[in-house]
């Protein structure tokens, strides 16, 4: 399991307007492309200096493909990153604060302490 790589996916998609739309419209294709092309990109280095060892587990791919914010939370993905990106993708389909409240309600069954987010 790689909380770091989940966070890297959420971070790099959230900061790019085109990727936000692409992930909303085609989550499976975006996750497949991202893991192949972006997962090993070291963000502060040139393109040739790729990281060679980062990959998702199948459960992580599935959670990202299914836009499953509850499972991402349970896996310890950073909740700020998930929330910010998911608001960008889905708030537009709902009334004021409706999406944010439903997002929290879907996790009402998760007990404290919450999953560790340390990377």
């Amino acid at each position: 399991m790689s909380r770091y790589l989940l966070d890297k996916f959420l971070y790099t998609v959230d900061r790019d307007p085109e990727l936000v739309e692409r992930y909303r419209a085609d989550p499976a294709g975006t996750v497949e492309w991202w893991e192949a092309e972006m997962a090993g990109r070291l963000l502060n280095c040139t393109g040739d200096e790729r990281t060679t060892w980062l990959s998702f587990t199948e459960d992580e791919r599935r959670a990202l493909r299914e836009h499953d914010h509850v499972t991402l939370f349970q896996m310890g993905a950073h909740p700020f990153l998930t929330l910010t990106l998911f608001i960008a993708m889905f708030e537009r389909d709902h009334g004021p604060l409706e999406y944010q409240r439903a997002y929290g309600k879907a996790m009402a069954h998760i007990p404290m302490p919450y999953p560790d987010i340390t990377t």
């Binding site: 971070y11 309600k105 990377t119």
Partner: protein, 287 residues
């Protein structure tokens, strides 16, 4: 030596800008009361007549990332561009450019290192809403040079609460030992209880009103030891999963000093989180 003109601690609510500028049906019912409280708060900084602002905040995974994460970082640059695409997108925050005060930044870095704080630095820092929100609320003309100081309250492992208090105490001594005739205000922003991306988010109040009540009392009365006796990295999970931002308030309590009562205290109970505003005048109240 430089004079510490004011110490200010505040929440940084990214929706203030949108709420305060909205009109007609878009204007939330609490906007007028919020604006009135902010304007009174702003007067406390204006009255201090500062020349330069040290701004303590925390990057929200904008420029600082997990491949290279500093615990405490000072921005040293002639200018700081500000706010990011996702803050425009979600909060409607404007792009800004603020001047930097490089002499003070250099002094904080040298003096901080010599006081055993291994401060990271950045010569090209784009600052986010943890610093631009208090500019918008407290100094909307954005005319004063700043020195940003970033803390990690966001990406564990985090420094412990006591370290934030220690850095606050040192920051005050560092500012007061700056060889300058400038008047410096130190402004820091954090959170009371807060939940982001968890089950308790966006409720009718902050996730833990009892924690908020105690936190306001600790800050307003300068009860650093009482606060440290109850607040740990583990305990901060229980009021809400983003409550570690309270450690920036603890840093500001360190700046203000043990037992030092705030000269201005105000709060506003909003949905999702409680707003809280504090000002101390180390040289006496100029108002």
């Amino acid at each position: 030596m430089a004079e510490l003109a004011a110490v200010i601690a505040s929440t940084h609510h990214p929706f203030y800008h949108r709420a305060s500028t909205a009109t007609g049906a878009d204007r939330p019912p609490f906007a007028d009361e919020w604006v009135a409280k902010i304007e009174r708060f702003r007067e406390t900084l204006t009255a201090a007549e500062p020349d330069v602002l040290v701004m303590v905040g925390s990057d929200h995974f904008h420029q600082l990332w997990l491949d290279n994460m500093p615990q405490f970082l000072v921005g040293k640059a002639p200018f700081f561009d500000a706010n990011f695409y996702n803050e425009e997108r979600e909060f409607g925050l404007p792009r800004m450019t603020l001047r930097g005060q490089e002499d003070l930044a250099a002094h904080l870095l040298r003096d901080g290192l010599d006081r055993d704080f291994d401060l990271a630095f950045s010569n090209e820092l784009r600052i986010d809403h943890s610093i631009t929100c208090p500019i918008i609320t407290l100094r909307p003309q954005a005319d004063l040079p700043i020195v940003p100081v970033y803390t990690n309250i966001f990406a564990p492992p985090l420094p412990r609460p006591r370290r934030f208090v220690q850095l606050g105490r040192a920051l005050r001594e560092m500012v007061e030992s700056w060889d300058s005739d400038q008047r410096v205000a130190i402004i820091g922003t954090g959170h009371l209880s807060l939940e982001l991306g968890g089950p308790r988010q966006f409720g009718e109040h902050g996730p833990d009103p009892e924690f908020d009540r105690k936190a306001v009392e600790w800050i307003a009365s300068g009860d650093i030891e009482g606060c440290l006796a109850e607040v740990t990295l583990d305990s901060l999970h229980s009021p809400g999963n983003a409550t570690h931002g309270f450690m920036d308030f603890m840093l500001m309590m360190g700046v203000a000093g043990e037992g030092r009562k705030a000269d201005h205290v105000d709060t506003l109970d909003l949905f999702h989180t409680m707003e809280a505003y504090f000002t101390w005048y180390p040289q006496g109240d100029p108002r």
